[in-house]
Amino acid sequence: MVKKSNAAADLGVDFLADAPLYEQVRDSLTRLVLERTLSDSTPLPTEPNLMELFGVSRGTLRRAIEDLVRDGLLSAEQGRGTFVIQEERVRRVVWQRLSEVAKPDSRFDMDLRNFVPDFAGSTAAHKRVAKRSEWARAKVIFCAPDNSIEQLRLAALTAGKKILVPTYGLSRGFIFLDGSKLAASDKQLAATLDGMEKFGSRLGPGDLRKVGKIDLVITGATAVTLDGRHIGGGQRYLALEWMMMRELGVVDPSTPVIAIVHDCQVVDEMVEAEPDCLLGIICTNTQEIDVRVTREISAPQLRRVQ
C-alpha cells in the first residue's frame, strides 16, 4: 500500500489534493502518453496494471480514460486495449513547445486548440518564401486564415497578387482579395481576419472557379512532418478546402504547397496520421525544407475527411 502511494505521488496523484482523483489520473496519464516516443504504437498498460500504477479504483481509472477518449487522445478498443491517437499526441507535444514562442490570438489568446498562432521568428520564414521562384511566379495564392501567415498575406497584396482566404472555420466561405486593386493604406487591414471581409469579395465553394488556377498554396500548421504531412488543429479545414479546390480543378497535384511553421512544429519521426494535404516545402524561422513529395492524398483518405 505504501509503495503504491509513493508511485502515485511520483505520477502527480495526490490523494489529499482538492482536485478530483480522476482528473489527477487523467492529467498524469496524459503526461505519460506525451513522454512516449512518437513511434511507439503499443497499447497502454492493461487496466489492472494502470489501477495498480496510480493506486486508484477501476471506476476512477475508467472515468479518466473516458475523458481522454472524448478529447481524442486515446481510443479504447474492445478486447485489444487502449491506444494513443498519434495525431493528437503530436498536436499536444507541439502545443507544449509552441507555448514558448507563440503569439496570442485577439480572441482565443493562447488557447492553441482554436487557432494556428503567429510565432517569434515568423518574419524570417516569410522571407524564405518570398525568395522562392514559386512565389515570384504566383499570381493567385491560396492563403490559410492562420495568424502565422498574416504578414505573408500582406506581402502578397503589396506585391499586387491575388489571394484567396477561407473565413475562419469556413463559416462564411472564401474571401478573394486583389492586391492590385487595393489602396496601399488598406492592405495591412485587408491581410487580417478582422479586416479582409471589408475589402474582399465573398465566394462560396461553387464560385471558386471564378478565381481561375491557383498557383501556390500557403498555410500554417499545428505540426508538419519531414515527409510532408500537414497536421492541422483537428477540424481538418485545410483538407476540406484542398478537396474542394481539387474537385473544382483550381489546384492539382503539381500545385506547390508551402507550410510556414516554427522549428518546434517540425516533427521528424514518422507519424501514422492522415495528412490534411501534402506539403512540398516547409519554411521555418531557421530553415527551408524541400519535401519533394510526388504522391497525393489517396481517394480513401479524402473520403474519410468528407
Binding site: P104, S106, R107, D109, F115, Y168, S171, S185, D194
Partner: protein, 252 residues
C-alpha cells in the same frame, strides 16, 4: 414569473432582430453568445459619442473602451483624433492595454482599431501602472440589450461590470465618470429592469438614431464583490491575482 426567464426571452427576441443588422465576427461568426457584434449604423453611434462632454471636455482624464466589435469605428475615430484610450483584451485575459495614437502611422489607423491590429500598437499596463494614470471621464461598452433605466443585460459574462469594478477599486472612477452603452435600436428595451448589486447602470444609451440620457447620480461606487468571483471565469484572470496582491488580500 421569474425575472431570469424574462431576461432570457428578451435576449432571444433581440438576437432575432439583431441578426438582421449585425455584422459577423471574424472568429465567432454569428455566435452572439461569444462576442458583442457590430451592426449597421454603429458609425452614427460613434459620431454621437464624440460629441459628449465626457470626451470634448475631458481635460486630462482618460477614456476606456471595451473590445466590442460595435466600438471598432469609435476606436478608429479616437485614433484619428489623436485621443488615447484604455482597452482590455478579449475576455480580459491579458488585462488592460493603452493605445496611444501618436505611435501609429496614419496608414494603420483602421488596422489598430480592430482587435487583430490593436495588439501591434497597444501597450500593456499592469494594474500598478494603471493606478498611476488619470481617472476616467468616459467608459464605453456595447451590450446585448439595455433597459430604459440603464440596466444592461450583456452577453451574460459580465465583463464590463467587472472592468468597472476593478477600475473603481483602483480609484480610477468617481461620481463624474460617465458610462455609455452603444447598442442598436432593437437592443433598447423600453422597460424598467431591476439592477443587481454588481450591475453598472449606464448614463447614456447611444443608438444609431437616439442618444438617451439616464439620470444615474445615485450610482454607487463600483467594487469587486469577491465572494462572487470564485468559480467564475474571472477567478483565473491575472489581474485578479494582481488586484488582490495590491489590496493585501492573499490568493482567492
Amino acid at each position: 414569473m421569474s425575472m431570469a426567464l424574462t431576461t432570457e426571452q428578451y435576449r432571444e427576441q433581440i438576437w432575432a432582430e439583431l441578426s438582421k443588422v449585425a455584422r459577423p465576427d471574424s472568429r465567432f461568426h454569428w455566435d452572439f453568445s461569444s462576442f458583442i457584434c457590430d451592426f449597421e449604423g454603429s458609425e452614427k453611434c460613434s459620431d454621437q459619442l464624440l460629441e459628449l462632454a465626457a470626451i470634448t471636455d475631458r481635460g486630462q482624464r482618460q477614456i476606456f473602451v471595451t473590445p466590442d466589435n460595435c466600438l471598432e469605428d469609435l476606436r478608429y475615430k479616437l485614433i484619428q483624433r489623436g485621443i488615447p484610450f484604455v482597452m482590455t483584451t478579449y475576455g480580459i485575459v491579458r488585462g488592460f492595454y493603452r493605445l496611444d495614437p501618436a505611435m501609429i502611422p496614419a496608414s494603420d489607423h483602421r488596422y489598430a482599431a480592430t482587435l487583430d491590429g490593436f495588439d501591434r500598437y497597444a501597450e500593456q499596463l499592469s494594474l500598478c501602472q494603471l493606478q498611476e494614470t488619470e481617472k476616467f471621464s468616459l467608459l464605453v461598452t456595447g451590450g446585448s440589450a439595455v433597459s430604459k433605466n440603464g440596466v444592461r443585460f450583456g452577453k451574460g459574462h459580465g465583463y464590463f461590470d467587472f472592468e468597472w469594478a476593478v477600475l473603481s477599486e483602483l480609484g480610477l472612477t468617481d461620481s463624474s465618470s460617465v458610462v455609455a452603452d452603444v447598442v442598436h435600436d432593437c437592443q433598447f428595451v423600453n422597460e424598467v429592469m431591476p439592477a443587481e448589486k454588481h450591475d453598472v447602470v449606464v448614463d447614456w444609451v447611444i443608438t444609431p438614431t437616439q442618444k438617451i440620457h439616464i439620470d444615474q447620480r445615485s450610482r454607487q461606487r463600483g467594487r469587486v464583490f469577491w465572494e462572487m468571483v470564485p468559480g467564475t471565469e474571472f477567478a483565473e484572470l491575472s489581474i485578479v491575482a494582481e488586484l488582490r496582491d495590491i489590496q493585501n488580500l492573499g490568493p482567492l
